[in-house]
Every structure is written in structure tokens, then in C-alpha cells.
Assembly symmetry: C2
């Protein structure tokens, strides 16, 4: 087997989004969320930590993961500059970057915690202390920043840091054979390799992938005697928590901390693609199947267990106690994106879309100022978004995902142009030595009609590959107004022709309200259905319903309609239907009594997209409706 | 209206329990739980805190509520001495008490935290710092100890402390018009009054009841400028949290922290009874109705909200996210016990029994070493008992409740002898100037047959009042083998006759499996039933069931049988039945798919008493079963 990456995403700068659903969210992300997050980073000391002024005895010591929050904020902000030049923001970024650069040590090292709180203790607790993770987030943000602005200062600083890291870790004599307890540096090194072309960064990524969980004694035990214990961390021998219980190539089940798992899966796929590593790709496929066939919520959330923010056993997907960290859903998007480029199979895009439109997007409020860390599928009404967290990974993560949405819509190879997501946009595609301008217009996900106009620089033969989503069972295709048939290749309708400027393609996806069921082994969804329309999963919120949402049953023949409500949350298609609710009849004064014969009455209910829940009055919420 | 206490509980020493259900639990409580809790108090520094050796800069400062944990442990241990003299335990108690006594300051003050951690800061933060609460628990334990052993040393010390407290608080010039943020001292002062006959203690109790929430500006605001803020406490103006938003006599809804609410309700009932305070009793009745008609779980648990460990609105009783602190269920037992003595109405005993056999008893494992703080009515399998807690109020609270069970079974007035609970026991009852020996034999709660033998010292006319539980709809009564009818007076069957030595009474309560429904406004119980048999509420645990417990529906005509299983958890009556579970039929590889037409198959299930859940392999649990 040879590993061949089938296609490449388009550079962010080449995709302009103009979309009824996404553009308002991206604008809030840019204009509200990113300034809000800067303020939070500033107010909590995360920015000023880079001044290195903290001294023993001072309050608020720079925390082991603070640097990563600032990095992810820079990355998010940098992405917005591509579509929306903003001098003031660029100036703020430059100042912040200057501050970070000023914190670099003479030997290249750059980490606030270890520089001021634990000087002389570098690399002594790889297991717990996120040191290489923080380094990786610096790489991601530096790459984003140079691509947005062309300014190399930050990248140069980070390269110097990475060069230093490459002297510390590796298989040469005297080097540490360690790796980070919180993976991410692997995918970051690949980004840095792609941005700089320097092989050493890819090699270092490959080293971290190769080394993980490989040796006996285990590296986390090797470093243990010299480690300062960090409070509230998993026990040393809980290797599965860190995906370090065996070599990555031998792993076939996603385990442990879900965000770390998704990040290393993405890094593995990156390394597999660039080093032609078939064994690694096989492991990626197995881990993909494990995550998406056995351990994923219908929201695209993963990691059901609060304890350890972790995966548990197959089909263990509780609703109300779901953890489903926003970062883990985003990590699944990253993993899906890489598998999709490698294999050109729409099943990856299906999961990417599910996780993006539901489990990830739920992470931020409509006003852009509040965030979910934990994403349950049912709530008694006591779960709400917060403005920030002590452990603040999720807010800048959703911000950078939204700001980089343009990267997920299209891919191109020499002979094919793929549309994975249906998002109104204008793309400049460099392919086969020429350029194609592709315009997409749609009201998706409220509507299934998508119009493309293709404008190649000169007439050009290529495959236009349009994803037929897994949820869609009927669709129509027309080219220049004429119905046409197209073979379905791994979930993509393939339109092969010589395209001329102005050619129009229309795809109409049938988008009825669907009742989804979960695999029968998912205990908490047993006998229940979830409502989905297009890519959007729906939920019932108490504020929309008169009957308690927990009391509503859905009959098999109950009507269900989708209706666009212009006034609701800026315009939302709601699902309305008729359910049954117990009719208690006369009731004694008592709180509990012998159960009267059950009687039901009809009740109208309304469901809203899951991603938009908790944007109005707080109250109960649920995704899975019992069947009558 | 005149407040008249209808009856008095029997002294603990006069009731010997010999019961198939309770005796093994009481023995584990005595032989395992109490030594285990001493070890925990010792290991965590709670005992040695009384040495007053802690200095600024030392680790593990004596916490504001540590003293109360030791007090409650002493109280529990003292109660066991009544039924089970134990020299070693008494020696350990004497030593511990000597240590406590040694910590008393020259002016009588006795509190480890304020003596060593915040010297000079006494009484500056009544709102947050549990100072009077800790004092109250010393009173309760000192009374228990003198009653068990006759030794007055501890009582004398505590009286000296209380005398000092009485100089600080009150309405005289120069006194503080404050009261504790965490009520309990009110009921404790009444115990101290009863044990010593000293009016000043009752007056001080009445002062605390009268003063609470009465004045403007609010005392918590008066003390605020001089207060050292204590971390993680409710905001100053959250008066409802402390039941201090208005005078207690004007309150008609239970609000705020549930344990505090139940303790002050008990204290109010005590003061009402002893001071002939009709307005206070009216408030108690309103608060009782509020708690038990609108805010109580079917387990007898109260306080549904984790945030603030608090009551919320009427009928807001979520299952999985239930808080229902063990201490709150126990507090409801205390409140019920006092209302019952005042009003001789079985509705109080019904709640007392529900809370005792379910919400309270669940607080301790069968092995006596693990405790629930939080008592949900559904679990995905991730909720388990712990050996101890940083905030360790619940473990010694359940220990003292079990050790004092004998106080709850009977009451007597001059002309009536009440049996509230059916627990095999032998009681010496002093009434009408003479003595009656009452023997109760029963296999309750597994069986509804209860046999009494009455042995008055001389033939004596009185009413034997046997509680007919609210859950019972059919019963038979015989006296000396002959069926008899007895009028039902406020839930008690009244047998009025001249009793002679050896008279036998048999009560047979019909005890079928019941399906309970909750008031239709309880959203999370809507369309569902809970199984109850006798006083025991049942639940489904995954370990007993093949179908996922969340997937089981109960048809209206499904059979349900109760069967005693000698081998299960030391002998338990289980409920077995036939439910329906979705039959998914063939399933694609996918985790989610379009819902197939629903089909159900029959499935046998087993339910066990809620109080015994989580004593075997961990797994999902639920109380409320959906109706098919």
C-alpha cells in the first residue's frame, strides 16, 4: 500500500465566505468573541505572564497551559485577518507577539511557567505539564500569523524554539526519548514543516509519533523520579489516558483523554500522509472507526466521561452526564479533515459536518461571549455557557475553528475539485496549472438547494466532486439547467466535463425531517429518536414548549414540519410536531400517589437546532425523544 | 390556639432493637462505621486540631467545620453505648472529650479554627463560618454523652461555652444581634435545655429563632465591613440561601440550603412546642407542606440543586442531576419527628419513614465504610459512594441517625402509646405513673405482619395507637387472636382498652408492589412510575438486568412480583417483573441511522431497594420507569 493524499484543502486566503448561516457567526466571532477573549486573557494575567515578572510569593503564578490559550487566540485572530484586514487587531497582535518574542530565552526556550515558576525544571514533567503542547500551539499560531500577514518575526522565534526542542528530543545519544502527555505538537510540527519546508520539523513529528508508548520502561516512569508532582493529574501508570499504553501503530481503539486522542489521531494522519506510512494510516482508520462507529454522540461530540475528560467503553453515551468537551468535537473535525484529504471518502466529511454544525458550534453562544466546555445531550436546566474558564482551552479553540472555516469547504487535486461543505462562498482554485473561480450560493443548512458557477481561466477538463451527504437519500443535479446523472464515487457525485466560464451546476438535496435512532447498544437512546434535518441535529428546549420536554413522546405517525422562523435567534428553521404527553387527570394534593391509568393528550412541540440551545431563557433540554 | 405537644419519644435507653432488617445495619454502624469515621477524623487532622498546635504557615489548618464532624462522631458513638456498652469505645470517647475540653479557652470559648487560625476574629463572620453551628454540634454530642454514660464533664464544658455564647448574643445593650449562617444551634440549645433544665438555653434558642431575618439593616450586612471574606461562599445578599430573608414566622416556603432549612424547621418546631408559640407552629406547618407537597423526591430526599445544595422551585425534581444531600434527608427526619410529637398525625410519620428507609439509609454502604453525599434518582453508572469527604457532614450524620433509631419507633403520652415505625424491639414505657413493656416482632419491611405483646406492670387503660402507613390500603387487626375494628385517628388505628400482661395485638399490613406516579408537574417523572413496596422505594440497577435499564418500559398489565432473595446483599426482597424493551432488529454498521419501525420484545427485569443501590458492581441505575 502506498499512502497517497488525494487532495489538498484550499488556502484560507483563497476562500471568501458569504453565507446566510455562517457569515453572521463569523462576524460575531471576529467582532465580539476575539476581543472578548483577548480581554479575558489580559484580565487573568495570561498576556502579562510573558513579561516574566512573576516572582515566588506573588499571587497568580503563570499556569502550565496559559501560553496555549494566548497562542490559540493569536491563531484565531490571525485567521480573521485573511478575510477582514483590521489594522487595530493587527497592531494588537504585533504587540502581543513582541511580548511573546521578548520572553524567549537565549537558548531559544519559550514557556512562561517554566521560566518563572519552575526555573531549572524544564522537561522534567512531560507527562503532566503541557510543555510541548504549549510549544505546539505557538507553532500553529506562528504559521497562521505569517500566512495572514507575511510577517516572519513570530515564525522565526518559534522556529528557533523548535530547533532547540529538536536538540532535546530524539534518538541520538544524550537526547531525551520523551513525548508530551498532551499531544498536539505532532500536528503543529507538520504545519511548521509545511510552512517552512524544513524536513527536521517533519522528522521531529515522526519521532514523537514513533516513540509514543513504545519503550519499556515507559518514559513516564523513566522521568518519574525527577518529576515534581503536579496536583490533580492522573496516576503515573494510567498510560491509556495519554494514548501511550502501546505504540500508536498498534492501537485500534480510541481511549483516554478525548481531546488528546483526537489531536494525536490528526497528527498521525499528517505524518502518515507525508512519510508514506501505510501502517500508520491503517491505525488511523481503526481509530477512526472506533471513535465514529462506537463512541461518538449524535452531535459529533466525543469523550463521554467527566472523569478524565475521557472515552469510555463502546456505546457508553449517557445524555445528561455527557462530557463531550467542545475541544474534543473540534479535534474530531481536525482528524476528519485529514482523513478526508487522504482518502477522498465522504464518510469523513459526514462526520466533519456533524461535528462542525452541532457538537462544535454549540461551544459558543450567539452573542459570541459565552462558551460551553461540556456539551450534554440533556439538561434539567442547570447547564449554561460561561464567559471563561480557569482551564480555557475551549473558547479560543472554537474561535479558531470558526475563523478558519474556509479551509474545510473545498479541496483540489490536479484533476478534481471537491465541495465538501455547502457554504455560500467564492473560491480561487489553483489546479492543473491554471485557476478556477468557483462560486457557491445556498441557503444551506435551512435549504437543500446549492448553486455553483464555475469560471475557469480557460476551458478545462476536471471532475467536479459534489458531496452527497450521508443524511441525504434523494437529490437532483442539473448542469446549465439540464438534469444530469453523475456516478457516485465514495459519496461524491462526480461531474466530469470540460468546464467553461459561466457553467452552472445546481444540486438540490432533499432535506426532510429525519428521525434518527442510535445503535441498540446505546442504552440511553434506547426506544428514542433524535430529530435531524440536513446536517443539523435538533433538540427540545423548555422555553419553546408548554409540556415539560421530558414528558413528550413521539408517535410513529405524528406530523413533523420544518418551518423557517425569521424572528427566532436571527432566523432559524424550527421543527414543529405533535407529540403525546401524559394527561394526569384529577390529582390529589399529594406529591406522589398510586399511578392512575395512563392517558395521553396531544401536544404540539417545537425543536430548535442543538447548536443554538441555551441562547434564551434557561430550562430543560433534551435531544432524544421517547417513541410513543 | 394553644400549642400542645401530644406525646414524647421514648428515651433511647428504653428501646432495645432486635430486628431482621435493622439490627445488622446497626451492628455494622457500631462495629465498622464508627471506628472507620474515627480513623478518618484522626487521619485528616480533625481530632488533633483540638491540641491547638497549628501555627501560621503549617499545612492543613483546622477548617471552620471540622469541630462539627468530631462532635457528630461522638454523638453517634455515644448513642451506641446505650444498647451496647463498650469499654474500649468509651475510653476512646473519654480521651477525645478530654482533648476537646482541653481546648476550651479561659472564657469558655471552644472552637479550633478561630482559636488557632483566626485568633481575635471570633464572631466576625457568622454568615459563612459555621461558628455557632459547631457550638451546637458540641451541645448535641455532650447531651448524648451524658445520657449514655452519666459522665458530666463534657456537658459541663459545653454549658460553660454556651453560657459564654449567651453573654455575646441577645437583645441586651452591647450584645450582638446576630445568628448563624448555618442553623442547628437552635435545636441543639433545646436539647441542652431539656438535659439541664436551664431556661437560659431555651431563651437563647428562642432568641435565635426570633431574630433571624428580622431586622433592617440585615445582620449579615451589619457584620460585613468587619468580616474576612471566606472563599466560595454565597453572596452577602443571598438571604434566602440562609433562610434569613424574612422573619421565620412569616416564611411559608422552604428555600435555600436544604440542610440548613430542615435544621431550622426542626428548631422552630422545638421552640414552638416549648414556648406555646402558635404563630411559629403555623409557620412550621406551612414549611412542612412546602417541603413535602412540592419539593421532596419520592426517596424522601430534599434540595434538588447542586448549586447551593439548595431547594429550587416547586416540582423541580430532576433525577440524574438531583443533589438530595444525605444530610438534608436526615434533616427532614428530624423535622418530621418534631411535628409528629406535636400533632400526632401519621402524615409526618409517613414522610419520616420514607426518608429514613430510602433517602437517608442510602447514605451508607452495606459494609459501613462508604457514604453518599449526593443521592441522584438516576445514574449513568458514574456515581459511587466515597470513604470520606473534605466536607464530611454526611457520614457522621447517618451514623448518628442509625445509632439513635430507637428514638423514632414509639412515643407515649399519659393515656396513649404510639407505634410509629415497625421495627422489632422491646420498649420500656413509662406512662400514667406506671410502666408498660411493649414487645414488637416483625419481618418488616419485607413483610407486613407485626406482632405486639403488651405487658403493663398492672392492668392499665390506655390507647394503643398503631400507625397505618399512608402507602397501605388494606390491613387487619387482631387482639388476642380475635379480629377487631379500630377507629382511624389521624392515620393511627386506636385500640382503647384495659391492657393486661400478655395481651397480644397483631397488625397485618397488605404490602403489594405499588406503582407510584408523581404530580404531573414533576417533569422528569412524567409518564413514568416508581415501584414501591411497603416503605421501600425500588430502583433498577444494571447489574441485575440484561436489557439496559434505560430501555425498559413497563406495560400497564405487566406482572410484578416480590420475592425474598436470601443470598442477595444479606437477604433482600426484590421486585421482578416483565417489561418491554425496543427490539432494534437488524442494524447497519453505523452508530446512527434512520429510525426503524419500533418493535418491542418482552424482557424480565429486577428491581432492588433504592437504599441498597451501588453496593455491587457499578452501573446505571434509575428509579422512574417509563410506562409502555
Amino acid at each position: 500500500m502506498t499512502v497517497k493524499q488525494q487532495m489538498q484543502p484550499l488556502p484560507l486566503a483563497d476562500v471568501k465566505i458569504a453565507d446566510a448561516f455562517w457569515s453572521p457567526r463569523l462576524e460575531v466571532n471576529r467582532a465580539v468573541t476575539i476581543p472578548h477573549q483577548y480581554k479575558q486573557c489580559k484580565a487573568t494575567g495570561r498576556i502579562d505572564a510573558f513579561r516574566l515578572k512573576w516572582k515566588q510569593g506573588d499571587p497568580n503564578p503563570p499556569h502550565i497551559f496559559w501560553d496555549s490559550d494566548v497562542s490559540k487566540w493569536i491563531e484565531a485572530a490571525a485567521y480573521t485577518l485573511a478575510a477582514h484586514p483590521d489594522r487595530a487587531l493587527e497592531k494588537l497582535l504585533d504587540e502581543t507577539i513582541d511580548l511573546i518574542v521578548s520572553a524567549q530565552q537565549p537558548d531559544g526556550y519559550l514557556n512562561t511557567h517554566y521560566t518563572v515558576v519552575e526555573p531549572g525544571r524544564r522537561w522534567t514533567n512531560l507527562k503532566d505539564c503541557h510543555e510541548l503542547y504549549c510549544a505546539g500551539t505557538l507553532m500553529e499560531s506562528a504559521v497562521a500569523y505569517v500566512q495572514a500577514t507575511g510577517k516572519r518575526k513570530f515564525l522565526d522565534t518559534v522556529c528557533r524554539y523548535t530547533d532547540y526542542i529538536a536538540t532535546i528530543f530524539g534518538t541520538k545519544p544524550g537526547q531525551k526519548r520523551g513525548y508530551c502527555g498532551h499531544e498536539e505538537i505532532e500536528l503543529a510540527l507538520v504545519k511548521l514543516f509545511k510552512a517552512t519546508g524544513r524536513d527536521k520539523y517533519l522528522k521531529l513529528a515522526k519521532y514523537f509519533v514513533d516513540e509514543r508508548g513504545r519503550r519499556h520502561p515507559h518514559y513516564f516512569d523513566v522521568e518519574a523520579p525527577g518529576r515534581t508532582p503536579y496536583p490533580n493529574m492522573p496516576p503515573d501508570n494510567n498510560y491509556t489516558y495519554f494514548q501511550a499504553h502501546k505504540p500508536l501503530r498498534k492501537q485500534d481503539e480510541v481511549v483516554g483523554h478525548a481531546v488528546r486522542s483526537m489531536y494525536i489521531c490528526a497528527g498521525m494522519a499528517d505524518v502518515a500522509a507525508l512519510t508514506d506510512d501505510a501502517a500508520l494510516l491503517r491505525a488511523c482508520r481503526k481509530l477512526w472507526d472506533s471513535a465514529t462507529l462506537h463512541k461518538m454522540y449524535v452531535t459529533g461530540g466525543v469523550g463521554s466521561n467527566t472523569t478524565g475528560e475521557a472515552f469510555t467503553g463502546n456505546y457508553d453515551l449517557p445524555n445528561q452526564s455527557a462530557y463531550a468537551e467542545t475541544c474534543a468535537a473540534i479535534g474530531l473535525v481536525f482528524f476528519a479533515q485529514r482523513m478526508l484529504q487522504l482518502e477522498a471518502d465522504a464518510r469523513y466529511a459526514d462526520v466533519l459536518e456533524r461535528s462542525l454544525y452541532n457538537g462544535s458550534l454549540a461551544g459558543v453562544s450567539l452573542d459570541g461571549k459565552k462558551f460551553f466546555y461540556v456539551n450534554p445531550l440533556a439538561s434539567s436546566g442547570n447547564h449554561h455557557r460561561s464567559e471563561w474558564f480557569g482551564c480555557a482551552c475551549c473558547p479560543p479553540n472554537i474561535a479558531r475553528l470558526l475563523a478558519s472555516l474556509g479551509q474545510y469547504i473545498y479541496s483540489a487535486s490536479d484533476s478534481a475539485l471537491y465541495a465538501h461543505l455547502y457554504v455560500g462562498s467564492n473560491a480561487k482554485v489553483r489546479m492543473g496549472g491554471s485557476t478556477v473561480i468557483l462560486t457557491q450560493k445556498t441557503n444551506y443548512p435551512w435549504d437543500g438547494a446549492i448553486d455553483f458557477v464555475i469560471r475557469p481561466a480557460r476551458p478545462m477538463t476536471f471532475d467536479l466532486m459534489l458531496r452527497i451527504p450521508g443524511w441525504c437519500r434523494k437529490y437532483k443535479l442539473t448542469v446549465n439547467g439540464k438534469a444530469c446523472r453523475a456516478p457516485l464515487v465514495k459519496g461524491y457525485a462526480r461531474l466530469r466535463r470540460t468546464w467553461a466560464a459561466g457553467d452552472c451546476v445546481q444540486l438540490v438535496l432533499d432535506m426532510p425531517v429525519e428521525r434518527l435512532a442510535a445503535h441498540p447498544a446505546v442504552a440511553e437512546a434506547c426506544g428514542k429518536v433524535a430529530l435531524q434535518r440536513g446536517p443539523l441535529l435538533y433538540c427540545l428546549e423548555q422555553t419553546d414548549n408548554t409540556a415539560p420536554v421530558g414528558s413528550i413522546l413521539l408517535g410513529e405517525k405524528a406530523w413533523l414540519t420544518a418551518r423557517f422562523n425569521r424572528k427566532l435567534m436571527g432566523g432559524v428553521t424550527v421543527i414543529e410536531g405533535e407529540g403525546l404527553t401524559p394527561d394526569a387527570g384529577p390529582w390529589k394534593k399529594a406529591l406522589y400517589q398510586e399511578a392512575p391509568k395512563p392517558r395521553y393528550k396531544r401536544v404540539k412541540f417545537r425543536a430548535v437546532p442543538y447548536a443554538l440551545w441555551d441562547n434564551r431563557r434557561g430550562g430543560a433540554m433534551l435531544v432524544w425523544l421517547p417513541r410513543a
